[in-house]
Amino acid sequence: MRKMRLTRLMMVGLTGTLLAACSALEGNVRTPGLDEYSSDRRRDQVRGRLGGTDGILIFGTDRNQQRGGGAGEASGIGVNAFLWRAALDTLSFMPLSSADPFGGVLITDWYSPPGNTSERFRATAYILGRTLRSDGVRIALFRQELRGNAWVDVPVAASTASELEDQVLGRARELRAQSTAAAR
């Protein structure tokens, strides 16, 4: 009996370790960018670039320049304005706890969906820069369940956060389209 309990405990521990390892891997595995390797090129040793961009664009769309009307400096906020407004719109169904437009951090308070008081959610959105890019927004989602009379952390599917990110990106796209249409 005791042995069985021990085995069960070990299995729980193992599962927990695996889960922890998975979430640790998430932040610690990535492919380094090409500029993260040692380069003996004389061009690479120079700090910065004349003209501000890495080379002169002769074909394609310059994503570094996609700051859009009202995005960034002009509007007085530190991050891309389209992404910021889109994140506000998307998460507005939850009560806001903190919003920092300069650092690009949006934190909601706990929110329980109507009709289900035994679970609650909280979201943190990070706008990662001034440019309007698909990887410019990161959303972290937290979920808790009421067990007995205590809230317990429960994992959330990774896809949920990325679906929320897609919503934000979609909204940002709409906002940008509106703003370009207005500017014409």
């Binding site: 492919t31 004349l50 501000g52 998307t90 990887d135 990161r138 990325s162 929320l164």
Partner: protein
């Protein structure tokens, strides 16, 4: 929105790879970049004196040089998240001899002459996955070089920095024996660079032989016998390189460390022939508050300045060299200093060659992409016997051979990158 939340709450997410990253297709871009450099040098070199050159008067102490490179940079991202691209670099090169192999050290065609000829430097393509790493192919630096960690330096300062262009090549066909592990000479190769796991990443590369470019013949040869694949072509083959690197930070201190290695098959030669060359490098960099200190140590079966690019003559011992350096960045100014020492076996009963270099320099960033630099390097070379390019001991006393040599070089100039 609520539907999304409710619909997915039951799922326990434990996806290992690629989660949370919003992928989007990016239309390819083509950019043109490059740099231009002007350098003025003042040289005080024992080898410039009449008793070495055989001329009536010493060489001039001042010379100017200009250099440039144009890069074509292609980048794109497919809908499945794979990045792809290519880089083609056109450089100013001082190729003076027909078929002169500027990329092959010790082949006797280094520098000099009218210069101003443009040829390709690196030319390569890549595919990169956010979870599986990067595959590069073409004329690109080896994995050992790309992942190496070396003593820190500022623009044009270093053990084989801007100074060496200004000094005469010695009897052993070298200017310096101080450097990092070789970069693979842009020989056409394939390179795999792994993802980073908890700060660690690794890479491997393979080159069938030491040649680059589209031609598979050696030096414009018309004969069936002179392919680059020849075992007796005089160049190394089957070059393998690899490296393991760590990058991370502890408190406010950034740490980078790496171990790099390479080896190749020596060419067949006249008896007693050559040993298979290899080279290893360990390097460490620590950085905090704008200050970076670090160093590297290189060892292996190589001689002169080849660092494993040519076969080591039989009977020679391994070579070593090491460098320590520090840089400090304060606003637009970067300051640097280094000390380097290298040793080479001269073969037989001859004493080892020993080269020491010490340098200090500064770089001022006038505007992003526009730098002014100035540095001073002192090189002391103790080499008792001159060696010909093939490693044979030359007649002592011939010009350029059997010399101890002291060099002072001061360079000042500007480099512009766009």
């Amino acid at each position: 929105m609520r539907k999304i939340l409710l619909g997915t709450t039951a799922v326990v997410g434990a996806a290992l790879m690629g989660m949370g990253v919003a992928q989007a297709q990016e239309a390819p871009t083509v950019r043109v970049g490059g740099y231009f450099e002007f350098t003025a040098g003042y040289v005080n070199d024992d080898f410039d004196r009449p008793n070495v050159t055989g001329a009536n008067r010493s060489r001039s102490k001042v010379d100017f040089r200009s250099d440039m490179e144009i890069s074509v940079i292609v980048r794109g991202k497919a809908a499945n998240g794979l990045s792809y691209g290519a880089e083609i670099e056109l450089q100013m090169d001082n190729v003076t001899s027909p078929g002169g192999s500027s990329g092959v050290l010790g082949s006797g065609f280094i520098g000099a002459g009218s210069g101003g000829i443009v040829d390709t430097d690196e030319a390569w393509g890549f595919i990169s996955s956010p979870t599986l790493g990067t595959l590069q192919f073409g004329d690109q630096d080896s994995a050992a070089d790309q992942l190496k960690v070396a003593a820190p330096s500022v623009t044009n300062l270093g053990e084989s920095g801007g100074w060496d262009e200004f000094v005469a090549i010695d009897g052993a066909n070298t200017r310096y024996i101080l450097s990092t592990i070789n970069d693979g000479n842009d020989s056409t190769k394939i390179i795999y660079l792994s993802p980073q796991f908890f700060g660690f990443d690794f890479g491997v590369s393979y080159a069938p032989n030491t040649f680059e470019g589209e031609n598979l013949l050696q030096n414009n040869a018309q004969q069936n016998g002179s392919l680059q694949r020849n075992a007796n072509g005089g160049f190394i083959r089957n070059e393998l390189s690899g490296a393991l690197r760590y990058r991370g930070s502890f408190g406010n201190v950034g740490v980078a460390a790496a171990f790099s290695a390479m080896r190749g098959d020596a060419p067949d030669g006249v008896a007693p022939g050559f040993q298979d060359p290899n080279a290893y490098q360990v390097g460490l960099n620590l950085s905090a508050y704008g200050l970076t200190v670090g160093g590297h140590y290189v060892w292996g079966k190589f001689d002169r300045a080849s660092f494993g690019r040519i076969g080591l003559p039989q009977g020679r011992d391994t070579s070593t060299n090491w460098t320590i350096g520090a840089t400090y960045r304060i606003g637009a100014m970067s300051l640097g200093a280094f000390y380097a020492l290298g040793k080479r076996d001269n073969g037989g009963a001859l004493a080892d060659r020993e080269q020491r270099a010490i340098g200090v320099g500064a770089v001022y960033t006038l505007a992003p992409g526009l730098e002014a630099f100035a540095n001073y390097t002192n090189v002391n070379d103790e080499n008792v016997a001159g060696l010909t390019a093939t490693g044979v001991v030359a007649a002592n006393g011939a010009p350029g051979n059997l010399r101890n040599r002291n060099i002072d070089i001061f360079i000042i100039g500007t480099r512009l990158a766009f």
